[in-house]
């Protein structure tokens, strides 16, 4: 049923429809409405989950790790500093191949203190072994949750999934969202049946010591599972589209790229603004297009390379930066295009850090600068 709700609410309702056995949260800034909504549903008896308030984000992640090891479907949400405090445990969750789903509401990192949107938090844990999906709309925030559980729990993947949504712009933005019926979700997402779990009757150890003899192989297996997810993600998105009648998820979305001479590559809600800018530029005769990354980890090199075939100049818009180097998406994209033997010129731009507004004018400026100086990390909108 369609409703007019926040992205946080869309996530919470989607999670409730997936019926996790255990939800953990540390209820303090920078936490969001997601867990507040879920806590209400549990308290009102509308959702039969164990909702556990913990004493820190580190504990929130540890708790879902343990519950997942015990065979439960689990959920947690975090943001900004909270995600960074979780980061030690995030690596453990992935290393132990726990199919945890977590929503990251993208917000800037301190210092200086800043509560607003950028994507530095999730980008900072891109190497943790989690699949990362980025939503563009409130609708997609919910839709990606269903797909995330399908993906994480697929026996051939068994990798945790982080659904990333832009702070405020999506988390606090209200828009029309179609929330599916429980029976529809049940058809799409089967109950979670772990192939192995902690059970006193069948003792088993997760995450034990692996010395130089085996660590390399275990990391290779995780990498291979991530690469394998590149095949499964589009097929899950196709299933979703067949069942729910709308496109959400997948590896990438190409927007007006067929005959594009210039393109922007970006992730998240800024892609909506970019689409508006592209439509305006097209009316002025500029052949512009967008490649939206839905999946950032694993990085969909082949899909990116194919979608950008024939595009002469590519601008990457990063809402995060690997300080002293470039934006993270820029680095991955440049690598993918080199490996794909592209001749395209690729410039990298950093915009929107700490909530700096990205307008149609910002996007126009990027397209204009794309024809000028070669840059790998050109800041957009810097005050003089």
């Amino acid at each position: 049923m369609k409703d007019f709700i926040e992205g946080s609410d869309a996530v919470a309702r989607a999670v409730a429809l997936c019926r996790p056995g255990v939800i953990s949260a540390y209820p303090i800034t920078p936490q969001t409405h997601i867990v507040e909504f879920l806590a209400s549903m549990v308290a009102d008896g509308k959702l039969k989950s164990q909702f556990i308030n913990v004493e820190s984000e580190h504990s929130a992640a540890s708790l879902v790790l343990g519950a997942s090891a015990a065979g439960e479907r689990v959920f947690s949400a975090s943001s900004s500093q909270g995600l960074i405090l979780m980061s030690e445990v995030l690596f453990n969750i992935a290393g132990m191949r726990m199919p945890v789903v977590l929503a990251c509401v993208n917000r800037a990192l301190s210092a200086p203190i800043n509560i607003w949107n950028d994507q530095q938090d999730s980008m900072a844990v891109r190497d943790s072994g989690w699949i990362q999906l980025y939503a563009e709309t409130g609708q997609e925030c919910g839709d990606l949750i269903f797909q995330a559980y399908r993906l994480a729990e697929s026996p051939e993947v068994r990798v945790p999934v982080m659904v990333c949504l832009d702070g405020y712009l999506l988390s606090h933005g209200l828009e029309v969202v179609d929330v599916p019926e429980a029976a529809e979700v049940d058809k799409f997402l089967p109950p979670y049946r772990p192939t192995e779990k902690l059970d006193p009757a069948v003792p088993m150890t997760f995450g034990p010591l692996a010395g130089p003899d085996y660590y390399l192989e275990i990391r290779h297996d995780l990498h291979a599972a991530m690469r394998g997810a590149l095949k499964l993600i589009p097929s899950i998105a196709a299933d979703f589209s067949r069942q729910f009648g709308r496109n959400s998820g997948g590896l990438v979305e190409a927007y007006r790229l067929e005959d594009a001479e210039l393109a922007i590559v970006a992730a998240g809600s800024v892609c909506g603004t970019i689409k508006e800018a592209i439509d305006a530029l097209r009316q002025e005769g500029v052949k512009a297009g967008l490649l939206r990354l839905v999946t950032y980890r694993p990085f969909p090199e082949e899909a990116v390379s194919a979608a950008l075939a024939g595009v002469g100049r590519v601008a990457v818009l990063d809402k995060a930066i690997s300080l002293g180097a470039t934006g993270p998406i820029y680095a991955d994209l440049a690598t993918a295009l080199v490996r794909g033997k592209h001749q395209a010129r690729v410039n990298g731009y950093i915009a929107g850090l700490g909530g700096r507004d990205i307008t149609i004018e910002t996007i126009r400026e990027i397209f204009t600068r794309l024809s000028g100086e070669e840059v790998s990390a050109g800041f957009v909108g810097l005050k003089g």
Partner: protein, 180 residues
């Protein structure tokens, strides 16, 4: 076509609720809206904005609003420190919660400024100066951008019956004041 509303308020005055009610009313009418806040630093009393973008199509644009068609000012003391008329379009409709007209100079002659004693209206109907529904009623009358019945319906959906009735009385008086 997209039309845009900017709400000026202090954190705690219910600007997000106002934006949510407005957006939900548009949704009830079968149209699309995107309602979103821009906080100062989440401190009570700090100036903040909420925005509503309205269209017949799904809305993709995520930037803040700089050229509003509509402005609602929930607290007249903001006019001392914030240019509430910044960037308003030529035929903008501006609703200001104030007992008496303020000394504001609109950038063009076509801008319609409507002063509504919404605190006083709300005090009488709700018992507290929660001005938002009176301002929305005045906005609906002055702009024609949303139906009074749609706002009434979303107030009924959102609040328990007693509070809904009080807010609807406030909404309707706001409408009447703006019509006069």
């Amino acid at each position: 076509m997209i039309t845009e509303m900017r709400i000026h308020a202090r954190a705690g005055q219910g600007a997000i609720t106002t934006a949510a009610l407005m957006g939900t009313a548009i949704f009830v009418e079968g149209r699309y809206a995107y309602a979103f806040p821009s906080f100062g630093a989440a401190r009570m009393g700090a100036p903040m904005n909420a925005f509503v973008r309205i269209s017949n199509q799904p809305i993709r644009l995520r930037s803040q609003i700089y050229r509003p068609d509509y402005v609602i000012v929930a607290d007249p003391t903001l006019c001392r420190s914030v240019d509430v008329l910044a960037g308003v379009k030529e035929k903008a409709v501006v609703i200001i919660n104030a007992e008496k007209p303020l000394n504001l100079t609109p950038p063009s002659g076509g801008v319609k400024i409507c002063y509504v004693p919404a605190n006083e209206i709300a005090r009488r109907h709700i018992g507290r100066p929660l001005a938002n529904t009176a301002l929305l009623g005045a906005f609906a009358a002055a702009s024609g951008a949303v139906k009074l019945e749609s706002l009434e319906e979303v107030i009924r959906r959102r609040f328990p019956e007693d509070l809904a009735n009080k807010n609807i009385a406030s909404l309707k008086e706001g409408w009447e004041v703006a019509c006069r």
